[in-house]
């Protein structure tokens, strides 16, 4: 493998890792704070992408930047609705009940999306400043892929700042440790949980909106992404934001290596990565058994 190919492969792996991280960050945030494995997370991702396609479809792709903000905000509002109407009633129920509830949401959103948007695939055009490619030692690399990497880095930094350096972040971490004590000192814990779930939905919607110009946008996006997002969170350690970032990078690199060395078996490499990590560290790279949430692990 020459240097040119190596650079492009590494950047490609980072693009894959970046798009996975944006989605997995929301999933792991929700699990860390609320201890809910949200199977509807992929639905939020798909709806984010579909809203992006709808908003840009009607504006002839002129409003990319406002749409990139509006689509995740709309998804966040949907997340708020789900939390208030359904999820806050089942926080203290068995994991099985929670799984069934979020799976029901997944099915409902899947069907609603088919009815609202139909079965057609759609495409989203990136703004002119993000189209085209740059040349790296003679090899092309898409500018939009670099943009995805930048967005993921921005999301990671923003989440770190939020959780480590803001009152809201401290409250979230305290709520995970001891919600009763937090409520006793006057903090509105249910509102806090609603905010966390809304943020998780926002991140998933943002993931969908950001990758929309790279994909066929349509039904099925929810299924395809949720498995990868779960693998990332399991590798990173359920509940760990930094772990999600590491997990995404591991997946991206393993997949790239598999494609280069054993293309026939490449799809199996991400599962191999998961198995290897779980054998060595059963709670994931940055997870700890019994206390796997971001407040402890990051």
């Amino acid at each position: 493998m020459n240097a040119q190919t190596a650079i492009i492969e590494i950047l490609s792996a980072m693009t894959t890792a970046s798009s996975l991280f944006i989605i997995a960050a929301g999933l792991t945030l929700v699990f860390g704070a609320l201890r809910i494995i949200n199977l509807a997370h992929g639905s939020f991702y798909m709806i984010g992408a579909l809203l992006m396609a709808t908003l840009l479809g009607t504006s002839h792709h002129a409003l990319f930047w406002p749409a990139l903000l509006l689509a995740p905000i709309a998804v966040a509002a949907l997340g708020t609705l789900c939390e208030v109407v359904l999820l806050r009633r089942i926080y203290h129920r068995d994991h099985l009940v929670q799984l069934l509830a979020t799976y029901a949401l997944f099915l409902i959103f899947s069907d609603l999306s088919l009815r609202l948007w139909g079965t057609d695939s759609r495409t989203v055009a990136a703004p002119a400043m993000l189209t085209g490619n740059i040349l790296l030692r003679g090899a092309s690399f898409p500018i939009y892929d670099l943009f995805v990497i930048v967005v993921a880095a921005g999301v990671g930094i923003a989440l770190w700042l939020l959780l480590q350096w803001t009152m809201l972040g401290w409250q979230i971490r305290a709520a995970v440790e001891d919600p009763e004590s937090l409520a006793a000192i006057g903090t509105n814990v249910p509102l806090l949980f609603t905010l966390v779930f809304t943020l998780g939905a926002f991140l998933s919607g943002l993931g969908g909106a950001v990758v929309a110009p790279l994909q066929a946008v349509g039904p099925g996006m929810d299924q395809s992404v949720i498995v990868s997002a779960f693998i990332v969170t399991v590798i990173g350690g359920l509940g760990s934001i930094v772990g999600a970032a590491l997990g995404a990078v591991v997946i991206g690199l393993f997949q790239a290596m598999g494609i280069l060395w054993l293309p026939t078996w490449a799809p199996a490499f991400i599962f191999l990565a998961m198995i290897l990590v779980l054998v060595i560290r059963p709670a994931g790279l940055l997870g700890t058994v019994g206390s796997a949430y971001f407040g402890q692990n990051d």
Binding site: T123, Y144, D145, L214, G220, S224, A256, G290
Partner: protein, 423 residues
Amino acid sequence: MLSSARKCLGSLRFSTNSARSLTAIAAAFAFALQASPAVAAGDVVIGVSTTLSGPISQLGQTGLHGIQSAVDAINSHGGLLGKTIRVVTADDGMSPATGTTNVRQMILSDHAVAIFGPVSSAVGAAEETLAGQYRTPYFLFTSNDVKMTTSSFTPYAFQVVPNTVMEPRAVARYLADQVGSKPITIATITPNYSFGRDSVDSFLQALKTYGVTFKVVAQEYPKLGETDYTPYIPALVSAHADYTFVGEYGGDLITLTKQAVGFGLFKQSTVIGQYGRLALKTLPNEVPGGTIGFDRAPFWAMTGLGMDAFINDYHTKYGEWPSAWAIMGYTAVQTWAEGVTRAKEFAGDKVVAALSGATVETIRGPITLRSCDHQGDVAEYVGTIAATADPRYGHQIYDTTKAVPADQVMLTCAEAQALQPKH
């Protein structure tokens, strides 16, 4: 770890009440599944089990539109043998298990007299066996694995789509005409299941048969439904192949195309892909001109009896031009209807006997269903994609569309029969 596992298992344990509730729910589901409308005296039912959700649902949905259009046309002329045709549909979710459940339900509960098959060949293979067991005619018009007319062949199945031998051979033939004796390098990327692997094997084998001197420099097999081709594309680009054969289709092809353009794959290599109506519509002016496209039934190149009327009716009804899947769905119903007309009844055995070896007049022209394997002698269409959109349709079409006749690319009957199960 053990303690957390025990805790987890503990939380998953059902209480007696939960078990009773679940049993009640399961019973209610079972009852709901069994309950189905009875067939009215003047009706005859056909079943369509196809993919109506997920990344390839666009193919299933437009195929269903084609079937419904054909049924509407027949019903508007008094139906078939005096009966009104009613279509029952179900989503297979790309799952063979769901597909077979659908087919069993359609045959046993809805009393479907014919089944029209799915998008995925994996689902088709499972359904074909089941339809054979119930002696119900089964029409494959989108899924096209050659195994369905060879190693898993049942006499009840008919395939009116170019199969995974015919399609890549047609493309290889087109390419052989273009490159002549010049040595070329080839890269391939196809979905990692029977259709993808069969297609690429047949394509490479056909290139050899047609005397093309080539070297394979890269082969990639992403999963069906892949949403991120970013790791695969650099491997293709760095292979510097003269031609890149793409076996992806539906949303996967659209995603791959969007991602590959940015990496310069289309500049470096001539891409060959299944760019039909749906892909070209979804990617308006985004497929670089000069790309080689192939399609099973491009509406702009079809001239069969009644095709123009069908295209216009379809456009009026659905507000868009018909995809190949719609055209082939329409053809499949025409084929079944011809079998019923010849048999003068709906009984599966009689319809199968009437169609085996028959030539049926369809909107794609006459189609002969060989008695040896029930494969229709349908053409595959190959061409070079125009650089700009055709103003009539709002998307690119092929500069010139070449129909590769079936007799140039089909397995011979002897070859097909050698692969069929021996009884």
